[in-house]
Amino acid sequence: MAHDATHDHHDDHHGAPSNFFVRWCMSTNHKDIGTLYLVFSLLMFFIGGSFAMVIRAELFKPGLQLVQPYFFNEMTTMHALVMIFGAVMPAFVGLGNWMIPLMIGAPDMALPRMNNLSFWILPFAFALLLSTLFLPGGGPAGGWTMYPPLSLQGDSVAYLVFAVHLMGISSIMGAINIIATILNMRAPGMDLLKMPVFVWSWLITAFLLIAVMPVLAGAVTMLLTDKYFGTSFFNAAGGGDPVLFQHIFWFFGHPEVYIMILPAFGLVSEIIPTFARKPIFGYKAMVFAIASIAFLSFIVWAHHMFAVGLPLGGEIFFMYATMLIAVPTGVKVFNWVSTMWGGSMTFETPMLFAIAFVILFTIGGFSGLMLALAPADFQYHDSYFVVAHFHYVLVTGAIFAIIAGTYYWLPKWTGHMYSEFWGKMHFWNSVVWVNVLFFPQHFLGLAGMPRRIPDYNVAFANFNMISSIGGFLFGASQLIFVGVIIHAVWFSKKKALDRVWEGAKGLEWTVPSPAPFHTFELPPVIHDEELAHGHVED
């Protein structure tokens, strides 16, 4: 029996199973499952990225040169779905899987078999979703927000809905596992307020996931029954309301945005203190800020809907609530800067990406504050200004943090140092081209270019061409990332120390590099001075 086989391995404390299928497809090991998540996420990053290349190629100059408008809409829709649900979220789950048990001194995740299931659902979900591109009628083309009635005009509604259901089930199981692990599996002495900020950020994120993924599932199920079973939840002709979908969707969608950024806050809060060689400034304030942002995320959803004709009172409430988010977010940025102040800094690749995160995410935050002002949003809404905003927070925010985390822990995972030279090449290319790519989009939006259009007036031509050039080169720069990873895994000769970085603190650095297949089979004895936050006073 399969279970017996893995069970034996657990018992005799040997390494991973030698059979490839048994090791990867039937794994219950948090490190292997974490690796699977990360590899899957990287694959999706490139698939989603290739869709973005099609978009930028078509927008390179005015006139339609490459694709029909309907296919263009399929590309924008699939780019978003693949990047959000396929690249960013699984990457964070992968990092959480790998690192949370190591950071809290647990032998594995609390629910290892569910862990396996929650990963292996994903390839099926995305096979279902991506297969629509090859089916008659094409893929979903109504935007990732799936607003009815438009989304119901597509032929792939059922595929889209079931794919979203599968992703949701996977996310909920992953979230339950993370909460159970953090609350039950901490080594004795690892108090909640001694946990690394990354673990805190994931604990809060997991609650967000459990709260909102079922809401999304409900919303898409209503789409399904509207399409195929004659219900009229969102059909005005049948007494329904198309705006109702938007309320339900964004009640999911806004927390979802923070699901994609809170773990990034956590990662950056690990990396900056390590390379500043100084404890994080205001640990409790950082944790409290994450919790406040998570709470606020539930009461701001309609700021995505300022132009649907909300009543005045609604516009005012959602505007004020949205502006409030600037306060805890500002606290986090100030605390990162204060952590650097008075430190003894070195600038290895993870630190470079973390610093770029702080600066560029803050620029995304600034445009977010501007978007929160409803009268100005009447202009910004659904323009390229919004596109620039959310790419600053998601690409230079979430994805830069994921890349930073990957460089930070790659030596721990592989036992080898990556090439610092090529890591820095990757960094400088990414940070330059990503700004060439997204910064001009602010100007396009302010000049009046709507989002999600395949062609535009010649007045928008110059900035679009600059943006496209930035896009191609940013995309190409990510190939360096793959090269660095492949080199570190299979070819690097330089052994990594157990404590890879001089200033690194925390339990993950007390285990050997590469981390053995099983760690902390006996709970570690916690010495507070080894922890990043062992002595918390503030």
């Binding site: 100084k278 005012i316 003894s344 009447f378 302010l446 062609d455």
Partner: protein, 280 residues
């Protein structure tokens, strides 16, 4: 962002400038501090890490100051919202209906008098439509009106409105959600089937103002522009009278304007060949 050409549009413009200014100042302070830290506290310059990790006074200060800034911004923004929401006192009503992929304009009333049967479809002009076909071989730069490039932002029949009159727009849609956006008016408003939204404008300068659909509405979402032609009141009144005369001919014509999908009767005079035919 454009300052716009209506009574309200400077609100959005002004708020944008204030918010941008605030962000730039905060950005300079925060990023400035970061860059100073990065140069002063480098290990390669012999910096030794300090041990402190909190400062209650500082934390209170940098929580309070943003709150004060936000209160000021919220005050300014609330004023803009209140004036925007107030459609009372309008002297004219235009019904805007979004369709895949064209707009319909119906003139409902003007100066207290109901208008009968003045309404028409407005869609992408033929020259843009031919140029925008995949690999059409036509140059988008060549699509011009009076030396001004109008590629994808010109229509067969523009919405004609008077300047200096508060106009109420009632906005809805016939199939999927669209959004009616003319940047010079300072706002966009979603056109949603089953829902009638209201917005207003009072254009201050005569001119031609162009915009586009701003809510993804299907394959030709990028090809349903909006053109508003603002003319002096007398000129508008004359235009309206002409339209009414055309719409109510003595001849026993079919009841054209009743159906939204039928060819609009009023479009016959000038642009009839263009308004038929092309669908993207």
């Amino acid at each position: 962002m454009t300052r716009g050409a209506s009574e309200w549009s400077p609100e959005a413009y002004f708020l944008n400038n204030v918010a941008l200014g605030v962000c730039v100042v905060i950005g300079i302070l925060v990023f400035g501090a970061m860059f100073i830290a990065m140069f002063r506290f480098r290990k390669s310059r012999g910096a030794v890490a300090e041990k402190w990790s909190h400062n209650t006074m500082l934390e209170i200060v940098w929580t309070t100051i943003p709150v004060i800034i936000l209160i000021v911004l919220a005050y300014l923004a609330t004023g803009g919202l209140r004036t925007f929401a107030d459609t009372t006192g309008s002297e004219m009503t235009v019904k805007v209906t979004g369709y895949q992929w064209k707009w319909r304009y119906d003139y409902v009333d003007y100066k207290g008098k109901a208008i009968e049967k003045v309404g028409f479809m407005s869609k992408l002009d033929r020259e843009s439509d031919e140029t925008r076909q995949l690999n059409s071989g036509l140059d988008p730069n060549a699509v011009q009106v009076d030396g001004y490039n109008t590629y994808l932002i010109n229509v067969d029949k523009p919405l004609v409105v008077p300047v200096g009159v508060k106009i109420r727009f009632v906005i809805t849609a016939g199939d999927v959600i669209h959004s009616w956006w003319v940047p010079a008016l300072g706002w966009k408003m979603d056109a949603i089937p089953g829902i009638v939204n209201a917005a207003w404008t009072n254009i201050t300068e005569p001119g031609v103002y162009r915009g586009q659909c701003a809510e993804l509405c299907g394959q030709d979402h990028g090809f349903m522009p909006i053109v508003v032609k603002a003319v002096p009141k007398e000129e508008f009144e004359k235009w309206l009278a002409d339209q009414q005369a055309q719409a109510n001919p003595p001849a026993p014509a079919a009841p054209a304007a009743a159906s939204t999908t039928a060819a609009p009767a009023t479009a016959q005079a000038t642009d009839a060949p263009v308004s038929q035919g092309h669908q993207g």
